[in-house]
C-alpha cells in the first residue's frame, strides 16, 4: 500500500469502519510518517470530544427557567402507566387468557350466589 492510499483510508479507520483494515495496519506498522498522521487524527478526535465542555455556559436565567419546568407530580405515575401498558403489549395472549379466565370465574361466582339465594329464599315445603 502507498502512503496516499493509506491517508485516504485513515479517517474511516478511526471508527473501525474499514472492512479491509489489514493492509492499512501492515503499512502503518512499517511507515513512521503515516503512523504519525494516524496519531495526529486521534489527537484531533480527543480535542473535538473535549469541545463539548468548552465554550459558553448557559445563563443563570435559562437554568432557572428549566428548573421551573420540573413537573412536581406525574412522572412517577406515568412511569407506572407506561410499564403496565408495555407489559400488556409484550404479552397480549397472556393478558387475554387472564381476562377471559377472570370473566368466567366472576360469572360462575355470580351464578352460584344467585342459585344459593334462590335456594335459601324458596318457601319451605
Amino acid at each position: 500500500m502507498r502512503c496516499e492510499q493509506a491517508r485516504e483510508l485513515i479517517p474511516a479507520y478511526l471508527d473501525d469502519a474499514l472492512h479491509a483494515a489489514g493492509a492499512l495496519e501492515v503499512h502503518l506498522a512499517t511507515c513512521a510518517d503515516c503512523a504519525r498522521v494516524l496519531a495526529d487524527y486521534r489527537r484531533m478526535l480527543e480535542e473535538l470530544r473535549a469541545l463539548r465542555d468548552r465554550g459558553e455556559e448557559p445563563s443563570i436565567e435559562l437554568v432557572e427557567r428549566i428548573l421551573a419546568l420540573i413537573p412536581t407530580t406525574g412522572i412517577g405515575a406515568r412511569v407506572l402507566g407506561t410499564r403496565v401498558l408495555g407489559s400488556v403489549q409484550a404479552h397480549p395472549v397472556a393478558y387475554a387468557v387472564a381476562g377471559v379466565g377472570s370473566a368466567v370465574v366472576g360469572a360462575t361466582a355470580v351464578a352460584a350466589m344467585r342459585w344459593w339465594r334462590r335456594r335459601v329464599e324458596a318457601p319451605a315445603g
Partner: protein, 193 residues
Amino acid sequence: MRNRVEPRRVGPGDLGVDRELVRRSRRGDPAALEELVLLTTGRAYRLALRIVGDRDEAEDVVQEAYVRVFRALPRFREEARFETWLHRIVVNAALNHLRKRGRFGEVVQVDDLDAQTPDRGAERAEDRDALERALAALPPGQRTAVLLKDVYDLSCREIGEELGIEEGAVKVRLHRARKRLRALLDQGSVDEM
C-alpha cells in the same frame, strides 16, 4: 426556594449521570430532576448554540428540549445512556427550529465551498482556538457531521435519521470533514510558524 442554579463545570467524559440518578428522576423525585438539569444543561446549551449559532435561539431550543425530556422520561429505557438520549432530543429540537426559520438547508449543504454559509458564531472567532476556527471553516454539512459524531457522540445512523439522509452519506461526509479539518489544522500550524 431554590439556591443552586449554577450548571456544574465537569471534566471531559461522563457527566456523572448514573443510573440511580436517572431512576430517581423517572420516579419524579424533584431533587434528582434538579440534579439532572444542573449536570446536563451546559453541554445541551453548547450543542444547541453550535447548531443554531445564536444565544437567544439556543436558549429557546434548550428549553423546548427539556420540556420534551420531562414528558418523555417515563419512556426512557434505563439501560440506554441518558446523555446521548438528551443530546438527540436537543439536536432534533434545534433542527426543527432551523426548519421553521427556513435555515435547515444550511446544515445539510455539502462540499460546495462557494455557496458556503458562514458559521453564524463566526463573530466570536477571536475567542476560539485553532480547532474551533477550523471547524467553523468547514462547509455546513461536514461541520454538522463532525459536530454530532465526534463532539457529541451520536451514531452515524442517528445523525442520518435526524438529517433525513442515508447512514452511508453521513459516513462519507464525516470522513471528508475529518480530512479537511486535519488539513486546515496542519495549514494553521504552518501559518503560525
